[in-house]
């Protein structure tokens, strides 16, 4: 959202953990290992991985396109097959009607209903086209900070997990309080922990 053009929305993360050396070789190896794998031609329900910030179909990173000066630039791509509850209900109802007629029974048992629902869900899921989402980021290596171009908390959780898995480093979202801890000296931070809300009227 807006890293390369237009209006942007972002949050900041601090990166905790020691950077392995040589750093850029480590990044090259890990980014490739956790690059995005397409699921268009499979039946997988979910795929997550890294792609180039310039092209969501580029998960090869030719010419080390994740390196921009002293910054690591990446896009997090998530493809997910989804079936809307309304569509699932429609096809489950339809199948139940079909079975009732076929077997000449007035009612479908609970066990059978569960089985039908799961079978239909899998069938529909296979027919669903994976929905893509792409979120960009850049990593300031010198400062150990990261800017993530999305304000969605669901995307933040997915990022934190994949980042940890890829690089073995922990992301801590920077809200006012922990940002303050970075900006103040030790005495200031101790004092900060004790302040209570001010009243402006």
């Amino acid at each position: 959202m807006g890293f390369l053009k237009g209006t942007a929305g972002f949050v900041r993360f601090a990166i905790e953990g020691e950077l392995p050396k040589p750093f850029w070789d480590f990044v090259a190896e890990r980014v490739t290992a956790f690059s995005f794998k397409d699921i268009d031609d499979t039946y997988d329900e979910f795929s997550i991985g890294w792609v180039s910030i310039h092209n969501m179909f580029d998960s090869q990173f030719n010419f080390a396109s994740y390196a921009n000066g002293d910054y690591v630039t990446l896009a997090l791509r998530i493809d997910e097959r989804k079936v809307s509850p309304a569509i699932l209900k429609k096809f489950v109802d339809k199948e139940e009607e079909r079975i009732k007629k076929e077997k000449q029974i007035p009612k479908i048992s609970r066990t059978m209903r569960t089985e039908i629902k799961e079978r239909i869900r899998v069938e529909l899921m296979r027919r669903a086209i994976p929905l893509p989402a792409v979120y960009e980021l850049y990593w300031n290596v010198a400062d150990s900070t990261l800017i993530f171009f999305s304000t969605s908390s669901k995307a933040h959780t997915l990022l934190e997990d994949l980042f940890k898995e890829t690089f073995g480093l922990t992301l801590i979202q920077q809200i006012p309080y922990n940002t303050a801890e970075h900006l103040l000296d030790e005495a200031g931070t101790t004092h900060l922990a004790r302040i209570s809300p001010a009243i402006f009227v």
């Binding site: 309080y177 200031g188 809300p197 402006f200």
Partner: protein, 180 residues
């Protein structure tokens, strides 16, 4: 304390910062002096969100308008509402940013970067692309630095003995501006 507890318990810190910044920007007609850097322009404009109370008792007040004096928002302050989001214009040297800052999570929303040649025209060859990316990173980093510098200015006063006097000035401003 884990992050979720910090967000809830220390929520007031971001809200106080935005309120302080609003007062600070109006104190000298938009100019805020940053130590060692001189004046930067800080203008609150167009869009503001105030909140009051928690959970089910939560009330929101949204104020919008092109040339608004944000009168409702000022009145909101006198009712004890807290500033949760504000649209701010920041300018230093020849660069001007627009950003909606949120208080609780410190998100940067709807960020407009200063217009520069390099950010407007990304070429197709790798060097031009890298130049464009680095230029945009530089402008994002500058914005974060400015907001952090302003936040540091606030924090230094907030944890010091000066806060008492600062708070009296803010209270006087709330009273004065909501009455006009």
């Amino acid at each position: 304390m884990d992050l979720v507890d910090l967000i809830i318990e220390k929520r007031f810190l971001g809200q106080e910062f935005l309120t302080w910044l609003w007062w600070k920007s109006e104190e000298r007609g938009g100019g805020v002096e940053l130590p060692g850097q001189g004046d930067i322009l800080v203008v609150f404009e167009k869009h503001m969100l105030l909140e009051y109370g928690e959970g089910e008792a939560n009330e929101k007040l949204i104020c919008r308008g092109l040339q608004t004096e944000l009168q409702e928002a000022r009145t909101g302050l006198t009712m004890g509402k807290k500033l949760e989001q504000a649209r701010v214009r920041l300018a230093q040297n020849d660069h001007e940013w627009n950003v909606t800052l949120t208080a609780t999570l410190m998100e940067f929303r709807s960020v407009r970067l200063p217009k520069t040649g390099d950010t407007e025209q990304g070429g197709n060859n790798p060097e031009e692309l890298e130049g464009m990316v680095l230029e945009r990173i530089f402008l994002f980093e500058e914005l974060v630095r400015l907001v952090n510098d302003l936040f540091r200015l606030f924090l230094t006063i907030r944890v010091s003995d000066q806060w008492h006097d600062e708070l009296l000035k803010i209270r006087a401003w709330v009273k004065r501006t909501s009455a006009t």
